[in-house]
């Protein structure tokens, strides 16, 4: 349960299990997706979040259900941490009508308007202006809530990144920009793409307070995210959080990873956020090994059930092909 409006993290046993459980859920979900993709159940592109779980889980802790989340095509973890039903996300991966987006979007376009989860956006940098707009709407309508915009470091090269940061700072909009810096934009290392590889410097050049945090440490992420979200909520304008993280898998499924060494991957795997956190908790006496087994068992069950749900879910009939291009005609009276 997200504790509202506090930057302190109460690391009770309960909270610890919650964090660990969410990370494990994401990890097993992603692994299952990899298997399903190989079996051609999931098609198109599949971008796995394995290794980066601490970011989504930590950041979501800082947000209320009323806040908004705007993410990228590598968003399964964010969707699950945000509380979207696992079965609906899985059905969406399959393209079934019971999916989060009626199956119309697939892996890269998970939307859930009830949970204020605005995708699922496949153009690098393309969603940043949307986040700015959502925050603008809140400010113009006097609503105090945060729009959390999550993107990779590759977006920093796109013009829309700069335009969005500038607009957010200029108009003092309540946006929490979260840059998940996993060091590779598809196959291009950050050193080969950015003249200034420190993401915080980019943000600061627009006058946006920025901080970097260890993205493999879920508690560190949570602490930083809570603090920054509070500052945004207090009306301080936008904030920028850089999560230094790493993806253990390729950019997408069909990627032989010619651009990085196995040794580097192995090095980072040693900092795997899940066993690292589990070990730390056991050392601190907050967790027993048996607890982890229980969590794994629960997660396995949830995922099995989600897969069964997706397998059995119906396909949208072809006759409905042309729906949802335009809004069906209803009363569109202007509010006088």
């Amino acid at each position: 349960m997200t504790k509202p409006h506090t930057s302190k993290v109460h690391l009770s046993s309960r909270h610890a299990i919650e964090l660990l459980g969410q990370m494990i859920l994401i990890r097993r979900f992603e692994e299952t997706c990899a298997e399903l993709y190989g079996a051609e159940k999931i098609r198109g592109f599949l971008h796995l979040y394995i290794g980066e779980e601490a970011n989504a889980v930590g950041v979501m802790q800082a947000l209320t259900p009323d806040d908004a989340v705007v993410a990228t095509y590598r968003e399964h973890g964010h969707a699950l941490a945000r509380g979207l039903p696992v079965r609906e996300v899985m059905a969406e991966m399959y393209g079934k009508a019971s999916g989060s987006s009626r199956g119309r979007g697939g892996s890269m376009h998970i939307f859930d308007v009830n949970r204020r989860f605005y995708g699922g956006n496949a153009i690098v940098g393309g969603a940043l202006p949307l986040a700015v707009g959502l925050a603008l709407a809140d400010k113009m309508q006097g609503r105090n809530r945060v729009t959390c915009c999550i993107f990779g470091e590759g977006a920093a090269a796109e013009g829309e990144f700069h335009e969005s940061l500038n607009l957010a700072a200029l108009w003092k909009l309540p946006v929490l920009f979260v840059c998940e810096n996993n060091r590779y934009a598809m196959g291009t290392a950050i050193e080969r793409s950015e003249s200034v590889i420190d993401m915080c410097v980019h943000a600061q050049s627009y006058g946006i307070p920025a901080e970097a945090v260890d993205g493999m440490d879920v508690v560190a992420v949570e602490v930083a995210a809570r603090r920054m979200a509070e500052e945004v909520r207090a009306g301080g304008g936008p904030r920028f959080l850089e999560d230094k993280t790493y993806r253990f898998r390729a950019h997408s499924m069909f990627d032989p990873e010619l651009y990085r060494s196995k040794a580097e991957v192995e090095e980072w795997k040693k900092r795997d956020p899940i066993p690292r956190f589990a070990r730390w908790l056991q050392d601190a006496g907050l967790l027993h090994e048996a607890d982890v087994a229980v969590v794994e068992k629960d997660v396995a069950r949830v995922i099995e059930e989600a897969v069964a749900f997706a397998e059995a879910a119906p396909w949208e009939p072809v006759e409905d092909l042309l729906r949802d291009v335009y809004t069906p005609r209803t009363d569109t009276a202007v509010r006088r």
Binding site: A34, E35, G38, A39, E40, F254, D255, L258
Partner: protein, 387 residues
């Protein structure tokens, strides 16, 4: 026993070549272990297993190209005995093949059948019109640019072929439709007059007695002659009303109602009736009636009438209030000539009289104009020798 299949690693991956087995039969396998390396168009990729177990049998050799989905090894459970590979327990059900949706093709109008090869360029509209009219496209002279267009086809409208019976059925249907339309669309008004035609009939009888039988005139002829002349003075009763506009006709193409064999009236036109004298009129009338009886009329006779004259004839009825044939704007109807009481200078006498009605299209003319026509008509009939 589980079959391990070549996984799909990308939307455009169809197959891969096995380049290395990382595990061998008998090796323990843990979920996530790399089992082999395959070469794809993007490069070498390690493939992993998703089950715990023991690698039982390798089904693919190094260097073999394997399509996605084909079994390349079998994995048995820890407790299973060695044995031949069984089919995979989990059915990999392919999603229902959803046929690609294309917009259904528009129901194209059936093209008119070509009757023969034509050299000229023929527009689609012309082709269709030609079929409607029965025009032979090969005989149509092309217009500007060597193109046979609507104009060229309209100019080549054919003679109606001699097909009695069938032809007249079509005509009757057309007349029925025209009458319904007339009633529906034309605001009719009627002006009626009873005329003393004694003098006319006296003159006619005297005239006919001087003529040979074939040259004799029927009484309708002087009536038609008078009508044609009178119409020249009231152009609002002679012409066509189409698409909201009245086009007065330069000529009086007088449609004459003729009874058809088998019933029904048809009113083919005597063209330029106003310049024909009574002998010529009689000749045309005789010819028309013969051709109606024989089933041979020209389309121009049916379409170019600018007014119609309908004479009930002898021993029929006193008057008639006829319907205008669209797109004409008037029709003149005459009842039978009969002896009737008549007032003449205060005394009641018996005269041969005729009741004539003029129906007019109120969008074009009014009762006053029609009355003027009747007055003039009457005047002409009072001086039959001058017709």
């Amino acid at each position: 026993m589980i079959e391990f299949r070549m996984p799909s690693l990308g939307a455009d991956m169809e197959a891969a070549t096995l380049v290395e087995w990382v595990k061998k039969p008998g090796d323990r396998l843990k979920r996530g272990d790399v089992i082999a390396v395959v070469e794809t168009q993007k490069g070498a990729i390690e493939i992993e297993v998703f089950n715990d177990g023991v690698l039982d049998e390798i089904l693919t050799n190094i260097g073999e190209k394997v399509p996605v989905g084909r079994a390349i090894a079998t994995i048995r459970g820890m407790d299973e005995a060695l044995g031949p590979a069984l089919r995979a327990a989990v059915p990999v059900a392919a999603p229902e093949k959803i046929a690609p949706v294309t917009a259904p093709p528009e129901e194209a109008a059936r093209p008119p059948p070509e009757t023969r090869v034509v050299q000229a360029q023929i527009t689609p509209a012309a082709r269709r019109r030609a079929q409607e009219l029965g025009v032979d496209l090969a005989a149509v002279k092309p217009g500007l640019g060597g193109v046979v267009g609507l104009d060229q086809v309209e100019a080549a409208r054919p003679v109606i072929k001699e097909r009695p019976g069938i032809l007249f059925d079509e005509m009757r249907n057309a007349i029925a439709a025209a009458m319904a339309r007339s009633h529906r669309e034309i605001p009719h008004y009627y002006v009626t007059s009873t005329i003393d035609v004694s003098r006319l009939m006296d003159w006619l009888e005297a005239e006919n007695s001087r003529r040979s039988v074939p040259a004799r005139l029927i009484y309708a002829v002087p009536l038609m002659r008078a009508a044609a002349l009178a119409l020249k003075e009231t152009p609002e009763l002679n012409g066509h009303y189409e698409e909201g506009r009245f086009e007065p006709a330069g000529r009086v193409n007088m449609g004459v109602a003729v009874a058809m064999r088998g019933g029904g009236l048809i009113a083919p036109a005597i063209l330029e009736a106003e310049i024909l004298d009574m002998d010529e009129l009689m000749e045309r009338l005789r010819d028309l009636v013969a051709r109606v009886r024989g089933g041979r009329l020209r389309s121009s006779e049916l379409s170019q009438g600018t007014v119609t004259f309908s004479n009930l004839g002898e021993e029929t009825a006193d008057s008639v209030l006829p319907l205008i044939y669209p797109p004409q704007v008037a029709i003149i109807g005459c009842g039978q000539i009969a002896e009737r009481p008549w007032a003449d200078h205060g005394a009641v006498v018996v005269r041969r009289t005729l009741t004539v009605s003029v129906a007019g299209d109120h969008r074009v003319s009014d009762g006053r104009r029609a009355a003027q026509f009747l007055t003039h008509f009457q005047q002409l009939l009072h001086n039959p020798e001058k017709l």
